[in-house]
């Protein structure tokens, strides 16, 4: 049923009130437009930073990836040759090996770090006293500079006088070429990465464990759950956000690993520990192939994104 406008609005349909209403509507429109401009003005600094620090470098990387770059007297000269870099990539079997080595490194090291970090977080959370001190001691390896880590472990892995081979010698074993055996070098590097980065995972997961609601875990105990069932069915699902954060951070960092491997093996023996970052280094700075290096960088970014998208589903399913 149509009601007269006076009844619906409480105001007469025409007359001086109508003009006032039109004026107030125009005023509201002006205020809204002003608000819109103000919002964009507030966003502007962030947009500028995003454009300058993210969009422009990636766009430049794409430009480099489809170009041949030569240095003349007037600086870098870009020649648009998209097929040249792509065809080289298609025939680059070494890069496939590098990708495989990187994938192995990421999967094994991140899996061990996540498992160890989680166990340590549970154990330290159960420490009755001096929890803060234990936590601080646990995270010390993260604070050590990578150069120091590389030097320290290189000494420990030394074939002739390294502490590991000395220890093996005491029980009549070894010596082992930790960094010189092609089949062993990658796992030696993984061990160093685990030592270095497990505390980082521990720190994130420890915060998660500390934030777990105590009564929920007690309810599970009363409901009849064993410790393993509580971990599997209660703690892990409740910690899924913290686990996801630790996993994503570590995966991205592991994909980009450079310093440790450069310092320990420089990618050797042969190419057994040459991960994609090292290959990029060689292409960019050894061979001066900036265009091809840029293309490899884009492939690595795509690989990281693909890895994270794939594993996010797996982590989610595991946490349920």
């Amino acid at each position: 049923m149509n009601l007269p406008s006076e009844t619906r609005t409480g105001l007469p349909a025409a007359g001086p009130g109508s003009a006032a209403r039109t004026r107030s509507r125009a005023g509201r429109r002006r205020r809204r437009a002003g608000d819109r401009w103000f919002r964009w003005a507030l966003l502007l600094p962030a947009l500028v930073v995003l454009l300058v620090l993210t969009v422009w470098p990636v766009a430049n990387l794409v430009r480099m990836a489809v170009s041949t770059i030569e240095f003349g007297r007037e600086g870098a000269e870009f020649t648009f040759t998209p097929l040249r870099n792509l065809s080289r990539l298609a025939g680059d079997e070494l890069f496939l090996t590098n990708l495989w080595t990187t994938a192995l490194f990421v999967v094994v090291s991140v899996a061990i770090e996540m498992a160890l970090g989680f166990l340590l977080a549970l154990m330290v959370a159960g420490v009755p006293r001096a929890k803060g001190l234990v936590r601080t001691m646990m995270i010390l390896p993260v604070l050590v500079p990578p150069v120091a880590i590389g030097s320290m472990w290189k000494l420990m892995y030394n074939y002739d006088f390294g502490i590991l081979n000395q220890a093996l010698g005491l029980i009549g074993l070894g010596p082992i070429g930790w960094l010189s055996e092609p089949s062993l070098a990658l796992w030696s590097v993984v061990l160093v990465d685990v030592w270095h980065w497990t505390p980082f995972v521990f720190l994130i997961l420890f915060a998660g464990v500390e934030g777990l609601p105590r009564e929920v875990i007690e309810a599970a105990r009363v409901d009849g759950a064993t410790t393993a069932q509580i971990v599997r069915k209660i703690i892990v699902p409740l910690m899924a956000p913290a686990i996801a954060v630790a996993f994503i951070f570590r995966s991205i960092l592991a994909f980009k690993v450079f310093d440790q491997i450069y310092l320990l093996t420089s990618g050797g023996p042969g190419t057994s520990t040459e991960v994609v970052s090292l290959r990029l280094y060689h292409v960019f700075f050894g061979q001066n192939e900036l265009g091809y290096g840029a293309l490899l960088s884009l492939v690595i970014i795509a690989a990281i994104v693909a890895f994270l998208v794939t594993t996010r589903g797996l982590v989610g399913r595991f946490a349920r």
Partner: protein, 349 residues
């Protein structure tokens, strides 16, 4: 269902003695409320019965079996927590079925038990929801449902209504009581709210500083509190306590004397009179000036005092009495309704 026997229970946290020689028995099907002020040890006692806290000494027996050193899962108990402690990542149905799944109960039985509990508690439409999509009262019901489906020997409740608003608390109080009558389950219920204790309990155990002060039926505690602490704790508004002297049957109160029904050994005492036991009398032995009148509709609290003697008292009266702030007031009571306590030990005389 089963009896619960607590025998000479002690609990220490380092040097702190949290539970001191606790001993009582909860009979099969009885609803016992542990009550006391914050920090008195009531929740600690409940948690030791649940197996969530280790005892320092003593024994706990459920259904005649010593469970003192058993894990919570081996005690055949169910517990409703103050925060409800629902599993936030599971649906209501999964929350309720969790314990049955752990025990590898056949799926048919699980479905039947969950459906039955949901029907009793009126939460059937909520079964597929996650706890975050429920109101406080609904979460409370789910927590109850999670306990019911287990068919445990003993139900433990740790202040389950303290997070609800006043109206819902009254409603849930009645529902828990009705559920207890329906299931006939042995129940131990912790609260600091004496109204909850009085309205729900078959028997109340009052704790103070880790020790049992008195155990008895709600009316027993109300009518014959063993000491000043229990007298003050049970009853709302709290009992009026007035310094007095007694000589044989003659009790001298601040504004007059009253004859007691029996002789009491002479000297200073604390006389306790419940606010609802006072009545106006022109020559009443309790006098003062009205400070505040609180109208509750069906009844009125008249707060009055005597500044000379630093007394602050309450008269609870039905309806609306014709008094207002500043009026002088004079009251008396039935001598048999007076409780006398030792001025130093607080023990009942």
């Amino acid at each position: 269902m089963a009896t619960v026997e607590i025998d000479a229970l002690q609990k220490h946290y380092g040097r702190f003695h949290a539970l001191k020689d606790i001993a009582f028995t909860v009979e099969d099907g009885e609803f016992v409320v542990l009550v006391g002020p914050s920090g008195c040890g009531k929740s600690t006692l409940l948690r030791t019965i649940a197996g969530l806290e280790e005892v320092s000494d003593g024994a706990i027996r459920i259904g005649g079996n010593d469970v003192t050193d058993l894990e919570p899962r081996d005690r055949d108990i169910a517990m409703v927590f103050q925060s409800y402690a629902l599993y936030p990542h599971m649906s209501v149905r999964d929350n309720m079925a969790f314990s049955l799944n752990l025990r590898k109960t056949p799926q048919q039985d699980i479905d039947a038990r969950v459906a039955e509990a949901a029907r009793i508690l009126g939460i059937e439409p909520l079964l597929e929801r996650k706890p975050r999509a429920l109101s406080g009262g609904q979460r409370q019901r789910v927590a109850m449902g999670r306990a019911i489906v287990r068919h445990p020997q003993v139900f433990l409740f740790d202040e389950p209504l303290s997070n609800l608003d006043a109206k819902l608390r009254v409603q849930m109080r009645a529902e828990i009581r009705a559920l207890h009558q329906r299931l006939g389950a042995t129940s131990i219920y912790v609260t600091h709210d004496q109204v909850e204790a009085m309205t729900m309990a078959d028997r109340i155990v009052v704790l103070e500083a880790g020790r049992i002060v008195q155990a008895g039926s709600p009316l027993e505690l109300y009518e014959r509190p063993v000491n000043r602490f229990v007298a003050e704790f049970i009853g709302s508004p709290s009992i009026n306590l007035v310094p007095a002297t007694v000589d044989g049957r003659n009790l001298r109160l601040p504004a007059g004397a009253i004859t007691l029904p029996a002789n009491v050994s002479g000297g200073s005492v604390i006389a306790g009179v419940r606010p609802e036991d006072l009545r106006p009398a022109a020559d009443g032995p309790i006098a003062g000036t009205v400070r505040l009148v609180e109208h509750l509709g069906a009844e009125t609290y008249v707060l009055f005092g005597d500044e000379d003697r630093d007394l602050s008292l309450c008269w609870r009266v039905g309806g609306t009495p014709a008094v207002e702030a500043g009026d002088p007031i004079r009251l008396t009571t039935d001598p048999s309704r007076i409780h006398l306590f030792h001025p130093e030990t607080g023990a009942r005389l």
